[in-house]
Symmetry: C2
Subunit: 208 residues, 2 copies
């Protein structure tokens, strides 16, 4: 697959979604899919799919469409999912532990190499083969492990400090679950997942 100099942020945000849909088809044993079938089945836009994928020289064959396995492999390669990404998890409360468990199962390319908390009952406990470190050890432990991506699942009050410690220690991408608007480091890719915000957006439609 040819790679354009830069993928537009909007295209990029759709590629993992296409991958999700294609994996669902793979599981069902579907070998070929056209952009219009993809669009119809998953409520996407056929023209957008064609436009997005054509950026990488990926063209469906008229009447046959895309080969599902091939397209999955290519999207995996393009997104960098064909290698292992070492990940740190900060905050091993119920949400952090659940996320750690959830994200480390199956053949996902994200491998947890470090875990942190501040709670005396959790520090020193085991997460699989790992020992949970105290969060103040972030500056030492992160460079040792080579983690480049981190999941932040600490209370709002602790999030900014942890975020800065992580990004000062070499972390290049953060998935933040703390219910706070972080002051971001512009050199670090930061994505926030705020459940309360999602629920509040849904609540609007329940007003009547």
């Amino acid at each position: 697959m040819s790679e354009p100099a830069e993928i537009s942020p909007l295209t990029l945000s759709r590629l993992p979604l296409y991958l999700r849909c294609l994996r669902q088809l793979q599981e069902k044993g579907t070998t070929h899919v056209s952009s219009s079938q993809l669009a119809q089945q998953f409520e996407l836009s056929a023209s957008l799919i064609r436009k997005d994928l054509a950026q990488f020289g990926e063209f469906g064959i008229r009447g046959t469409g895309y080969r599902v396995d091939e397209l999955v492999d290519r999207l995996n390669g393009l997104l960098g999912l064909d290698r292992i990404h070492k990940m740190a998890v900060v905050g091993m409360g119920s949400l952090g532990s659940a996320l750690a468990r959830y994200l480390s199962v199956n053949d996902r390319p994200f491998k947890i190499v470090a875990a942190f908390d501040v709670d005396g009952g959790r520090v020193g406990s085991k997460l699989g083969h790992l020992i949970v470190h105290h969060s103040r050890e972030i500056p030492e432990v992160i460079p040792e492990t080579g983690a480049r991506i981190a999941v932040l699942a600490v209370p709002a009050s602790a999030a900014q400090k942890c975020y800065e410690d992580l990004t000062d220690s070499g972390i290049e991408a953060v998935l933040n679950f703390a219910p706070i608007r972080l002051k971001r480091n512009p050199a670090v890719r930061t994505k926030s997942v705020d459940f309360q915000i999602y629920l509040e957006e849904l609540a609007y439609f329940l007003r009547s």
Copy 2:
């Protein structure tokens, strides 16, 4: 606050974010904030803030800005957060339980009134005052409880069926955490939170 006939989806998606930022200011004791201060502190767009809020007749006062408490109250009212929203949780695995715990703490307006699972070890167990029901009881239990919003935290393979049972039983909004692209009911507000997709988007920036 005057209410326009319809809030644009983009404005709506930003209102809970403004609320998040304003609550952070409230906690710090800030009483007034201008759109440009809000924008600078939280990396938002000042002109967008002014435009979004002006739709509801909410104008900052030159030199003083918005009154934080007042604006929080108004946004709460506008989003329907000044009343209780009865919520069901389907899937009481580690992620579902963590979400249930997380979403039911504090003074949030989302009140869990029903919980479901299919696992023999979980069905019949207690979640606070609630008993976890078997997911096949969704059609009976949902109408009894009056839940209108549901959190779906089941494995991908079970998600579509649970989603349909929920929406057939009167649920009007669903926050889906199952890693699957659901076939949506157009009458139901559905929002999906897919951690794997978020990580995959971040992974792209770690390719080098």
